[in-house]
Amino acid sequence: MFKNNIPIYVQISDLIKKRIVRNEYMQVLPTVRELAMELNVNPNTVARAYRELERQGIIKTRVGSGTSVNSNKKENLKKELVMEAVENFLLALRELGLGSKTIKNLLEEVYDRDKESEKTISRD
């Protein structure tokens, strides 16, 4: 589940961000220990991930009420993750030697195909 060549706490942060954006965590995050048990990692590493997310303002820890999602930041977070995904995608295509025009045509082609299949589904 985790790669060894990227800091584990970074991978855990990324995972939490994804889960927040997907609404798997609405308000409250699991405790450090709960998440550590679920992911089978060291609680210290989860704690570090939480600290990092808190530093970025994505989550807030209050004594007594646990760790909660900062809903203000959620929209920005989604945008950030989407942009990251897109940029990774573009990077992957560029590494294969595709130019900007080719990428644009490719995207339109895939988009149209996608829309067609949506229409087909609603017709049935």
Partner: protein
Amino acid sequence: MIEIKNLRKQFPGTDAIDGVTLNIPDGVVVGLAGPNGSGKTTLLKLIFGFLRPSYGKVLVDGEKPGFWTKSIVAYTPEIDTLYHWMGVREIIDWYASFFEDWNNTKEKALIKILNIEEWKKVGELSKGFRTRLKLLLSLSRDAKIFLLDEPLMGIDPSSREKIEKAILGSISGKEIVIFSTHIVKEVEKIFDKVIFLKKGEIAIYDDADTLREKYGKGIEEIFKEVFND
């Protein structure tokens, strides 16, 4: 907390530990890696008190290893050290009776997760299951320091996750766990810090994630790099 200063251990013909200075704070899981003969077991034995320094010192919570430290340090040896004629249930009860920090809740949980066959005799267990039993005897304690020498010995790859779970589930976060192993790749994600021991000296002692950031590689990869010259 473990403080080691200028530690040297000499055996006839070899310097097993040759100048180690190390401070391990509370609340960390430390991976101890190194090739055969690099001094991993010797270091663990020196911390526990099975061996005494030739030079330098080892302090466990400010005390030299001895009678007092045995009640706060749990040592899981690599070799076979249990009485084969004892029943599994028998040896657990017997061993537990010596320790005030024995945690029955942990014991029950560990029996389950490690699939301990309580009805057998220790001698009837396979190597992997003897390792599990040894782990149970250490991890069921609320010890302050856990010294695990090759806790994956004889454990098949599909069960390694279980061992990780068992270890992580047994600690509250305030303890020191030193995990000595050859098999680094599968378990490195649980290490807070890593010690690379090369010929009795410390080649690297750093945070695991810091090393990953620095090298852009996994701990095992870095390990191979350090030891292949």
